[in-house]
Symmetry: C2
Subunit: 332 residues, 2 copies
């Protein structure tokens, strides 16, 4: 058990100890808002070139003829300081003139796209149709918005998360936003995952022998992290990268900080708990960061206790430090 | 020669005389802003069911992956009272958050799309891809925005105006907006026109024997009206519809009220004048409405003198009345 790590707030602190080379890389898997919070902490705790963020694209979908990549955008906007913290999605200082006009024309308004956010989807869609890869577009947008660390989609091929409810299989966003995540989920599938090729730069990094840690951010395991692990080769590449794999629990006292993680786990037959999430990751995990008061029974990985609720930037940096320290201790 | 017609401003005045049936229809061909002004006048001078507006689609283009139909939108926004009178295009009370964000992502900003206007292009593009016709989409948008008269694209098939300049053939919008209409035009072509099918409702109306008048609005003949006439069958259907064809000069004292009409005529070897425009329409025209002081030499059609500059709505309605009276006199 470790404490809350180094005092937060210092940008790019250098690690103590001499066992790591300058360019060792932290690979972090992230879904939506919870993952992006820790990603922001990591980006403040590490030099940009030492952090590689892997975004879930299972939530991606076509809407209004536009390619929307919610988790890539959440990561990009968060790291650029452009995220809308009130809504938990989209851009800050957003306006909604497009949406209002669209409604007046009879267009679909159930998935809300702000005027500024829309530029991301329109330009990404245009470039995808012109033949650019999702990776290249993501990298270019991040660079233009001033994001330092690399953000990679898990794959440039389409993977689409679908959920089985009493109404049959529906696309993730239809359930999550359209039905406000209300119908109970009986199963989850990642359509296209079996044929998807992992993002090459991700595989190359994992195979480089230069990985310091693989961090599984506190995202929903079912719909944010497992789609990444479902891309053929990714799980094995992580397991074989030679670095410790450390996850952060997205569950505190049986509840998700935000989103449907706890409800989904329960609907799928698992009592939601920090331990239940660790068990889903199984042997992939060497370290697990969880709340001091939560039950660690049945967790095979080494447990690191720390506050995991991230309110402001200091919390995010502190938790990032906990995770990095845990990985370095596992490695030592 | 007639005066300025009935006093303007009265909505839907009934025509005097008993020679016309209740449902006789005025078909008006329109391009951009000048045409839309007279179209608005006609829409105030006629019951909605007695007016059929035919929009040029030669200006249409794909931009940012979206199908933009500038002349349809100018007509629709004008008749809905949503037009941006300061800019002369787009919607009133417009905001530009999308454009600003697009620029920050490296997207193309040379053709400006406002946040509200963008809804039109996104939803139209989505519906076109879903298989709806441009006609059906145009009719639905007009209905939803409260436009009474029918607005028809000249064709549901793509026709693309291109201009030859010293740099070779370029798409119309690249020249008109991208190059601010600066390079001299040596030729104009309507790509796709020869294969385009005229909008069926337009042909049916022209063949119905119920047409009161065909009005050629004061639009640029070269790039607004002639694309409509270039769709196979349209010119013959107009000539054979049994109603007088009356055009309004877009040229006053050798100048266009707005836009490149005068410069284009000159670049193509014709001194810009009201008469030169009438001569381009040739035998199609029975009536021509032009300024009292302009030279009518060489105009084969019957000339009707009236003020043609439309500032406010009363001017538009007054000019509409002049045109209707001219047509009815030619018919009598």
């Amino acid at each position: 058990m470790v404490g809350a790590g180094q005092p937060g707030g210092k940008p790019h602190p250098r690690r103590a100890g001499g066992s790591l080379s300058l360019n060792d890389i932290v690979v972090a898997l992230s879904g939506g808002i919870g993952g992006a919070k820790l990603a922001l902490g990591l980006s403040n705790a590490l030099p940009a070139e030492e952090l590689l963020l892997v975004a879930n694209t299972g939530d991606d979908f076509e809407h209004l003829g536009l390619h929307v990549s919610p988790d890539i955008d959440t990561l990009t906007y968060s790291l650029a300081g452009l995220d809308n913290q009130e809504l938990g999605w989209g851009r800050r200082d957003e306006s909604w003139a497009f949406m209002e006009a669209l409604g007046a024309l009879g267009g679909a308004t159930w998935f809300r796209l702000g005027d500024r956010d829309l530029a991301t989807h329109v330009e990404r869609t245009r470039r995808l149709r012109a033949g650019d890869s999702l990776s290249a577009i993501t990298a270019d947008f991040a660079r233009r918005l001033g994001v330092g660390p690399r953000i990679l989609p898990m794959s440039d091929d389409p993977v689409r998360t679908r959920v089985l409810t009493v109404q049959g299989w529906v696309d993730f966003q239809d359930w999550f936003v359209g039905q406000q995540a209300r119908p109970a989920v009986r199963a989850v599938q990642f359509r296209g995952a079996a044929e998807a090729r992992p993002q090459p730069e991700l595989l190359a990094t994992l195979a480089s022998g230069r990985v310091r840690a693989v961090v599984i951010c506190p995202s929903n395991p079912l719909i944010s992290v497992e789609p990444i692990l479902a891309v053929p080769g990714v799980r094995d590449a992580i397991a074989g990268c030679g670095a410790p794999v450390v996850a952060v629990s997205p569950i505190i006292a049986g509840q998700a900080v935000k989103g449907p993680t706890a409800t989904m786990l329960r609907d799928l037959g698992t009592e939601p708990s920090a331990a239940a999430v660790a068990q889903r990751y199984g042997a992939l995990l060497q370290g697990y960061v969880m709340e001091p008061d939560d039950d660690a029974s049945g967790i095979a990985a080494r447990v690191f206790r720390a506050p995991t609720l991230m309110r402001g930037l200091p919390d995010k940096i502190a938790l990032a430090q906990v995770v990095l320290n845990a990985a370095d201790r596992l490695r030592a």
